[in-house]
Amino acid sequence: MNAALHPASHRPRSRLRRLIAPLVVPQVFDFWASRLHPTWSWERPLARIVGRSEASADAVTLLLAPNRNWAGRRHEPARAGQHLMIGARIDGALVSRSYSLSEAGRADGRIAITVKAIEGGKLSRHLHRDARVGDVLELGPAFGEMTLPARVDGRWLFVAAGSGITPLMAMTRQLAAQGMPVPLTLLYWARRREELCFVEELRAIAAAHPNFRVRFLLTRQEPRAADEDAGRIDASLLDAHIDDLAARQVYACGPGGFVANARGLIEARAQAFAAEAFTPPPRAVEDTGTVAVTLARSGRTLELARGESLLTALEAQGLKLNSGCRMGLCNTCSCGKSSGATRHLHTGDVHAEPVSSLRLCVNSATSDLVLDL
């Protein structure tokens, strides 16, 4: 779950499609195709929600049926541990965020995501509260390196906190489906019991596979069940639940602070350590000093001064950019922004949402940015 937009990778077209492509206007095709079936489209990867279930007090699991344009349906199937961009229309505008798959590799080609409603999170709240079976979502290709190797061996430890459980759950499910070929322990932190996801299922897997052990660790409640314990992640708690850390290959996933702690406690002691943290959502908004602006297409990163229009600042770095009016009028200078916060120089408003059109001539950077340039 990190906030970078990834370009949609287009699947190779069939010969027929290549042949008629020059004659097809995608927006016309999509209009009529979507009248016939909600996810039919010329090239947009879309998915329909076909199942919805509560995963915890504040999380929901959505089962998605992607259309044929989604890369995972043909080549490179999505793997447990990966995430993908999900987009939904909220108040008329498309809002996209990246979510981990909680289930991948199903025989019917469907995928599941588990979404925790986040305070102030537009999309997560929409998916949690308003998304219904039958709704159509935009999909990106699955990406992410934290997946299980093709041949699993050794001893494993998964360390999860909050929604960090999602990719690790997908991998646990995958291992369970293979009959749990290796010893695996899952340590799963949450503030309270109601916030834990997949509890029943995890207990069922533990009951069915002696190789699998799960421990729920609560930071704001006392333990009740035998597989529960209380306390934040620290050395003594780790030692209490895992006695062969040195022999374990460890995956950790959770909020930035948690992952940093886990890394400090585990990396030096375990056999292998891999981790994935969610990008911390709030970004510092300031108008002095410099920011790092990443140009996604050219792969460059530039240091730019805050407080100056991005167009002038980028041009000062020698970039040749399209521009016209230089006053926010003609839309010539606009480009996509996939992350970061900008300030509109006329109105002073700060915008932190990813957008498809940022007018460089009338916006300045207030945090690090990623631009589609």
Partner: protein, 381 residues
Amino acid sequence: MTASKRNRALTPTELDRFGAELDALRARTVAQIGRVDADYIRRVVAVVRYTGLLGRLLLMVGAIGGAFVAWLFWPGVILGTALLALSKILENMEVGHNVMHGQYDWMRDPHLDGKTYEWDIVATGDNWRKTHNYMHHTWTNVRGMDDDIGYGLLRLFPEQRWRPFYLLQPFIAVVFALLFEWGVAIQELRVGRWFTGKTKHRAMWRKFVPVGRKMGKQMLKDYVLFPALAGPFFLPVLLGNVVANVIRNLWTYTVIFCGHFTADAEVFPKESVRNESRGHWYLRQLRGSANLSGGKWMDLMTGNLSHQIEHHFYPDLPARRYAAMAVEVREICGRYGQHYDTGSLPRQFGQVMWRILRHAWPSRPRARRPLVRAEAVEAQG
């Protein structure tokens, strides 16, 4: 009465306040943009698609069916052509023009993306984004900078130098209206510069390639593919397509000319945009634009260019917002002693035709009255 008599020159302080009030109106409107605007544009797109499909179907019914059942012919062909023209007008005005201004970019819908939208006329979206969004909107009615003043073909203002060629203008204007989309298509090519040798053949060819490709695509669709579907009865379908395109041309020409070439519309010399303030820019947009009154239908059919003034103030806001903004804009203009040029279509177009006829003949510019006056003058008066 000339515009300058109806308008008073503002002091720099007034000009700043004028601009600030219009900016504030903009901010209030931006805050409201959301689902209703998205639903609206999607509904219009749906109307474009359905009327287009129905129009083409009726053309087929008229062309093919008419060959067997005679009474089907005229109703089918006429109704089909009318619906197709309606579809094309809406696509051109309310969808194409407005989407390409980036009015719906906030929706993040790739099909309604201002930077990539391609509309259903022979002109390419890319060229339009340059000549219209940038040149015309930034330098509205500034001589030598806004090509839309007469499209390099007509003399509409006495400030333009007269040449005997302009005596043909009443005739040329009619041809231009009939072929309007082609005129727009070659506008950015600046064919004149090529004729006079200022543009090299190679450069011209490079600029022409994308334009030619778009022209070919449009012709293939309207004049080959769809007529071919009617087989041996292709002729009425072909004619229906030609007529629908011509109707659209005449309509868009009318609307666009009414937007900037009414009796009160002014042109400005290049000097006037040097170090132009925001208020000054607004004022210039106001003095160079004119509205059409006529209510909801007029708004829809013109893609809200019936609110040309509001469009020029806020080209990137969803056009369906203009009607509501117009009430306040008009009130603000009134308070600052600025004439708000609006009138019925016959009235405004009558003025346009008068301009075309009048300035075909030599005419002398009226005395210029500045938009701004010095602060000190106000203190004395």
